[in-house]
């Protein structure tokens, strides 16, 4: 089977400005959402208590609400169905430091008359740990981006590095925007998803950049836009196929992976789509706009080659001289 067969390069760069504009709008919208609506921090980052209760039949949610409202600690607790009608989650911003009788034990006593149930999960994060986790989370995102920036500038030219990191920031921002838009709870696993998007989207971008680097060295053309069009077209099938396979597995994770990792798989789904888009339409144009010059690059490479050859020659002379 062969879906992608192009004799001529697709003129992606002709539309670069339009896509650039679309990306800017999307990023601005995401930033707007992040700063106005803000993240819906889950337990891990905000602290609090979460109790998951499984009933042997449909959970009597109103009764449960009434039952737990008797305790002052749960006045502002939210009770929601989780995944299905038999399962509920009770959330509150409070947490208790006591080991002996914790919030799960209190809940068990409060709802003991609401039916046959089993408490399946009690998570409690104190405020101090929450803020520590948040700091560590931001730190890890920054460090990952920094590490990637260093590696890519080492392997490519600096403009490649800047372009790929800008594309990354673009992807992560839009993914975060989607998380805010859909009110997905931000927990540690959402953070893991964001870091995976970093790695994944960069993966895509690097494959394209690798082709561009190769194209600059071997192509007869010397217009960067044309070389980019050629390279993106050549890697288009790979980009799409890999995105598809990854999309498949993330989708199965989203549908079958269970309610607990839904935040994780949703963030990844968005990330895969945005990451694919950005490696085709965003990363390469940035390279162009950063003023990368094919001629200069070739000149530099030629000089480097010349210097190396001279060195070799001198060494050969030196060696034969001493011999």
């Amino acid at each position: 089977m062969e879906i992608f067969k192009y004799d001529k390069p697709i003129p992606f760069m002709r539309y670069a400005k339009r896509f650039g504009l679309l990306s800017i709008v999307l990023v601005l919208l995401s930033l707007g959402l992040i700063f106005t609506k803000g993240f819906n921090y889950g337990l891990d980052f905000a602290g609090g208590t979460l109790v998951q209760v499984h009933y042997d039949k449909k959970a009597p949610i109103d009764e449960i609400r009434k039952a737990i409202a008797k305790d002052k600690n749960y006045e502002n607790a939210s009770v929601t169905y989780f995944g299905n009608d038999n399962e509920i989650i009770i959330r509150t911003k409070n947490s208790s430091k006591s080991l002996g009788k914790d919030m799960g034990d209190t809940i068990r006593e409060l709802i003991k008359d609401t039916g046959n149930f089993e408490i399946r999960r009690v998570d409690m994060v104190g405020a101090k740990v929450g803020s520590e986790l948040r700091e560590k989370g931001i730190m890890s995102l920054v460090l990952a981006i920094l590490g990637i920036l260093i590696y890519v500038s080492f392997r490519f030219e600096w403009r490649f590095a800047v372009a790929s990191v800008l594309a990354l920031v673009h992807d992560v921002t839009i993914a975060m925007g989607a998380v805010v838009l859909f009110g997905i709870e931000v927990n540690l696993d959402t953070l893991a998803a964001l870091l995976t998007i970093l790695g994944y989207s960069l993966n895509d971008t690097i494959i394209v950049f690798d082709r561009i680097r190769e194209g600059i060295q071997i192509s007869k053309k010397s217009d960067l836009a044309e070389i980019i069009d050629e390279s993106v077209t050549q890697t288009l099938s790979r980009t799409t196929l890999t995105s598809l396979t990854t999309f498949f597995v993330v989708l199965t994770l989203f549908v079958f992976g269970g309610e607990i990792i839904r935040g994780f798989s949703f963030t990844l789904l968005v990330g895969v789509v945005v990451g694919t888009y950005s490696s085709i339409f965003v990363a390469s144009p940035i390279l162009m706009w950063l003023g990368f010059s094919v001629k200069e690059y070739r000149l530099k490479q030629a000089e480097k080659l010349k210097r190396e050859k001279e060195k070799e020659k001198m060494r050969a002379q030196y060696e034969s001289g001493t011999l």
Partner: protein, 526 residues
């Protein structure tokens, strides 16, 4: 057919290694190194505990004060107004100035890490800053040991208790069946088990019901409540002795067949206890546990041998847990919960089911897709993918790594990403074939050209995985681990392994049947 090449041999070895070492994990056999399931998959309790080290200082001061009292009594040094101020200073007055050198020498000899200040006959004893720091540090490591001993004594399978950071304790207990059991375990951990034997202030005890705590303090006394009855006792603030002198505690039964706890004191404790009971016949002595009075019997005669009983209307379970707590020693400083995650066994089973389902389905989808799209080349990539999965399991088994729910997600994701290398290679080979290159050349060049792209891409993903591993906590570490191992393993299986298979099959690959081998229809441009 060409003879085996080194790439293929390497791949076969990797495959055998992968299968052999993942067998113990897959079959869950008793022997052999295997993967442990994380608490989110098998159910269990995860807690991060904080510790109030200030309390350890206070109780250290209290036991110092008790020592001073005992030492001075023993040496016939006459003193008065022995008090504890602010929970960190001991003050007393000597009545006879001739005793001063003797008292000072005695304190220096018997008590470590103290600073003595003297103002006439008034003395202030404090802990040195180094001693305070040492005591705090000691309290944490003692808490770790004590909690571990208690959990072991409770008979739980492989609990983890470890110090985390400077002043936190990580406790992980797998395999808890019900929430009631969990609560019992938490109570066992939290139990201070601070046992004290204290003398009742018989001169003033009759007024205890109306006495204010301030007034009690002015006599150097404390008011404590009875554990079973609404009754109070006025006790001398300086204890006779505490649980640190206890050697054993066992559950027994009294004449009414009620569970009680019998404990035995060590030599020094037995001597102090014997001396005290001998001097105080007719008075009452209270058995105090965690600041509650369990009993306050009248001393009928001198009690030697150091055997004491605690009774307090215990349930059998309760007495059992309490004996464990007493045997393991008191927690010098109380612990509190900073973070707690507990997953019931049925939810753990659901999590395994859901993530396995996602893994199998994702895997099948990818495998079918690759064969449909690339023909034999896709099948070869699929073989590598299977090899990759086994390698991940084998490496994790060898390190005894923990597989968590996010870790499962990491494996699922690796399935998607590992075939990426083969997609890149296959696309390159197709391109080269379209250009009219020979099969052998297309394969060699395809691998050559695809390599740098794959390497760069994998290294960057690896950077993200390493950062996540270093900064992540608990389950997230599991995600970073499986993803990292998966990427490294894919370099071996997807690049070296498939290359080896192609080299081995090369003589069979017919340029006229490219549709079968690589899923393309081309005769080449030439």
């Amino acid at each position: 057919m060409k003879t085996l090449n080194f790439r293929l041999i390497l791949f076969i070895f990797a495959l055998i290694f992968g299968v052999v070492f993942s067998i113990p994990s897959l079959t869950q056999s008793q022997s052999g190194k295997k993967i442990t399931l994380g608490l989110d998959l098998q159910g269990g309790l995860h807690m991060l505990l904080g510790i109030k080290t200030d309390v350890a200082i206070e109780s250290r001061i209290k036991s110092m004060a008790a020592s001073i009292k005992y030492l001075f009594d023993d040496e016939d040094i006459i003193f008065d107004n022995l008090r504890i101020e602010d929970g960190k200073r001991i003050t007393f007055e000597l009545l006879d100035s001739d005793d001063v050198p003797k008292a000072k020498a005695l304190l220096k000899k018997e008590l470590e890490g103290i600073k003595i200040e003297q103002n006439g006959l008034k003395f202030t004893v404090e802990m040195t800053p180094q001693e305070v720091a040492r005591t705090k540090k000691n309290a944490i490591s003692q808490a770790v040991d004590t909690i571990r001993t208690r959990l072991d004594a409770f008979g739980l399978a492989e609990p983890t208790v470890a110090k985390q950071g400077e002043d936190k304790i990580l406790v992980e207990v797998p395999g808890i069946k019900t929430q009631e059991d969990e609560q019992r375990i938490r109570e066992l951990i939290a139990r201070a088990a601070h046992l004290q034997l204290m003398a009742v202030d018989e001169d003033r005890n009759s007024r205890v019901e109306t006495m204010s705590p301030q007034e009690a303090r002015s006599y150097g006394d404390v008011i404590l409540e009875d554990v079973n009855h609404p009754r109070k006792y006025l006790l001398h603030g300086i204890q006779i002795l505490d649980g640190s002198m206890l050697t054993d505690a066992k559950v027994g039964f009294d004449q009414n067949n009620q569970p009680v706890i019998n404990f035995t004191l060590n030599g020094q404790g037995a001597k102090i206890f014997g001396d005290f009971t001998g001097k105080n016949v007719g008075k009452r002595m209270a058995v105090v546990l965690d600041n509650k009075v369990y009993s306050a019997p009248v001393i009928n005669e001198r009690i030697g041998g150091g055997r004491v009983q605690i009774s307090g209307n215990f349930k059998l379970d309760e007495a059992h847990d309490l004996a464990i707590a007493l045997r393991s020693g008191a927690l010098l400083a109380p612990v509190y919960v900073m973070e707690k995650r507990s997953v019931g066994p049925s939810l753990g089973a659901d999590n395994i089911k859901a993530s396995l389902m996602a893994l199998i389905l994702g895997f099948v989808l990818v495998v079918i897709f690759m064969v449909l799209y690339y023909g034999m080349a896709g099948l070869i990539a699929d073989i590598a993918l299977v090899g990759n999965l086994f390698l991940i399991l084998a490496i994790m088994s060898l390190f005894g790594a923990t597989l968590t729910l996010p870790g499962m997600a990491g494996i699922v994701l690796t399935v998607g990403m590992a075939v990426d290398a083969n997609v890149i290679i296959n696309e390159r080979i197709r391109e080269l074939l379209h250009e009219g290159k020979s099969v052998a050349k297309a394969i060699e060049e395809g691998y050559d050209k695809a390599f740098t792209a794959i390497l760069d891409a994998n290294v960057t993903t690896l950077i993200a995985a390493v950062v996540l591993w270093a900064y992540g906590t608990g389950p997230l570490k599991g995600f970073a681990l499986t993803m990292g191992i998966g990427i490294l393993a894919s370099m071996l299986t997807a690049i070296v392994g498939t290359h080896g298979i192609y080299q081995w099959l090369l003589p069979k690959i017919d340029r006229k049947r490219l549709g079968f081998w690589f899923g393309i229809k081309t005769e080449g441009k030439k």
